[in-house]
Amino acid sequence: MKILVCISKAPDTTSRIAFTDNGTAFDENGVQFIVNPYDEWYALVRALELKETQGGSVTTVTVGGVDCDPIIRKALAIGSDDAVRINTDPKDSLFVAKQIAAYAKDNAFDLVLLGKETIDYNGAVVGGMVAELLDVPFVSFAIKMEVNGSTATLEREVQGGVEVVEANFPLVVSAAKGMAEQRIPNMRGIMAARTKPLQIVEAQDVSTSTTIVRYELPPAKAAVKLVSADNVAELVELLHKEAKVI
């Protein structure tokens, strides 16, 4: 099975978030980037597990500049066979999806796996767009995936339970927590990553369909109000009048 895994960079969860260019761009200064956890822990690892049981290959694709190379090397160290970086600044979800779809179309993958969302912009739409552009089925937020010949059986978490879905390859799947367990790169993998191919391809259509008007930080956390345990009346009053949640 020929698998393509979409890997994107995301700021480390401990990063301080700030904006530049009049609040229209994320300030990357001093920010540590990691592999988007949904891509790494779930999509990539499940792809590797499928390769281990079914045979085939795992290629990663990243839309981004040279600053993405460290996270691509990490994916190679974890076990992908080779990597492709589409050399352009990712502008919006459709833009990214077009780049990935163009590459995937030319290279006939059986399965495109990606995380359910990135932990920075939380768009969660690239998978669906890639599937549409490739004209193949899309299963989102999958927590389990088994392969049976030319079909895949997937589980999705739905309100209060699980939905079991079947789909034929080729297929796009976005992976949620539960799909696999994080793998830590070992020394053998880190050494092997040195010589694995990282191919740089130029972007195709670089037009964008949206522009960012402004980012805003959430209001600073207000101080905590402590209510004594035996004063339920005051608690209810505060929840009603101040917090306005009941």
Binding site: R73, P185, M187, I190, A193
Partner: protein
């Protein structure tokens, strides 16, 4: 123990000096430690046993001879990578780092540097994969700071030598498969040799009652007329310089490791000081606590710079033993001070096993003594700058 919330601290953007591979190696070691070691370390320390089920994982993250060439099973990494791995291990526990230091610098290093091709082929790949664990026997009951006075000795016996004597305070001894030991020939010259578990007359009693480095096993090596094949003698170098060169390698790793302990204590103290409220304010808002925290990060940053530069010198092959002594002495002392200050910031909680502070503090009492005591390293620097020997 609570979940390991550790975050690295990099006040002077030292990460910019590292390669992507350095960061990958370090972050992998850190992730492995958090996943596999942090949840069990307090228990191991309390029980006083090294968790042997960690050996495979230690090998996987490259903790065993990362700088040994690939053809001998190592990872062929540079000295800074070795340092970073030691830092991440000791960030969790000095005992964990000790096990890896001994295997890498005191067992694999001498075999790699002074062993015959057959010895390298026979031992190094298994040591790198953790299928074999080694220990290093230099210290004797009556010869610690003065190893030149050792009494362990061997006599010629055809294809073999007959080894007699005893070593004490030997990390990993109780479960090691092999021991690289140092003993005097009939001419009184110090030679290294590999003694294998199972050789007749060779025993490794465990030492008990340590209040430090409890998650590392320590024992004795007793040689009672042990017949060691001559093929097990390291042919490449003899004299005290041979074991001392191994100590250089291990001390280099300790210099990095101590930064790990210090970072963990600082990290915990910083978090605690922001969370703990007294007199209606987080204790981090009080000048006395800020003085402690500000001095901690200052000392850590100085040590990081010193040690990174030492890594460059060591990689270039120009670091002197005296330069390594300075870093080992400075960093371990720095870490011990930070552990003590961090413990106070945690108030009473600081004495419990809810936090790693007290464990680090107890561990560092060994680290400041082994691989050359704090005093001995000072004498090394003193001799280096004055040209006067104040040892004897």
């Amino acid at each position: 123990m609570r979940t390991d919330q550790y975050q690295g601290h990099d006040y002077y953007m030292m990460d910019d000096l590292l390669t992507d591979e350095h960061k990958l190696v370090r972050d992998a070691a850190r992730a492995w430690v958090k996943k596999e070691v942090s949840p069990v370390i307090e228990d191991a320390f309390e029980k006083g046993v090294f968790p042997r089920n960690l050996i495979k994982g230690l090998a996987d993250v490259g903790a065993f001879g990362p700088y040994i060439p690939v053809e001998y099973g190592g990872a062929g990494l540079d000295q800074i990578s070795y340092g970073l791995i030691m830092q991440e291990l000791e960030r969790c526990d000095s005992g964990l780092r000790s096990t890896a230091s001994v295997q890498s610098s005191l067992v694999m290093y001498p075999i790699w540097k002074y062993g015959s091709e057959e010895q390298k082929q026979k031992y190094l790949p298994k040591l790198a994969s953790g299928d074999m664990i080694g220990c290093f026997g230099l210290t004797e009951p009556d010869h610690g700071s003065n190893p030149a006075g050792m009494v362990s000795n061997f006599k010629d016996d055809g294809d073999h030598v007959i080894l007699n004597g005893a070593k004490m305070w030997i990390s990993n001894a109780p479960f090691a498969d092999i021991a690289v030991i140092w003993a005097k020939s009939e001419e009184g010259r110090i030679h290294g040799m590999v003694v294998e578990r199972g050789m007749e007359g060779f025993t490794t009693p465990t030492m008990h009652g340590k209040w430090s480095l409890r998650a590392s096993d320590t024992g004795e090596l007793v040689f009672d007329n042990v017949r060691v094949p001559k093929a097990n003698i390291l042919p490449g170098r003899s004299g005290l310089g041979a074991p001392l060169s191994c100590l250089d390698s291990a001390r280099f790793g300790i210099a990095w490791g101590a930064i790990g302990s210090a970072l963990d204590c600082y990290d915990s103290a910083l978090r605690y000081s922001k969370e703990r409220t007294q007199f209606d304010r987080p204790i981090a808002a009080f000048q006395l606590q800020q003085k402690k925290l500000a001095e901690m990060i200052t000392e850590i940053t100085k040590a990081q710079l010193l040690t990174f530069r030492l890594g460059q010198l060591r990689e270039a092959g120009t670091a002197t033993s005296a330069q390594i002594s300075m870093a080992k002495r400075n960093n371990v002392d720095m870490a011990l001070h930070i552990a003590r200050e961090a413990r106070q910031i945690h108030g009473a909680m600081g004495i419990t096993n809810e936090y790693p502070i007290m464990r680090h503090m107890m561990n560092l009492e060994s680290v400041i003594t082994y691989e050359g005591t704090h005093d001995i390293h000072l004498l090394i620097t003193g001799m280096d700058v004055t040209g006067e020997n104040a040892f004897k």
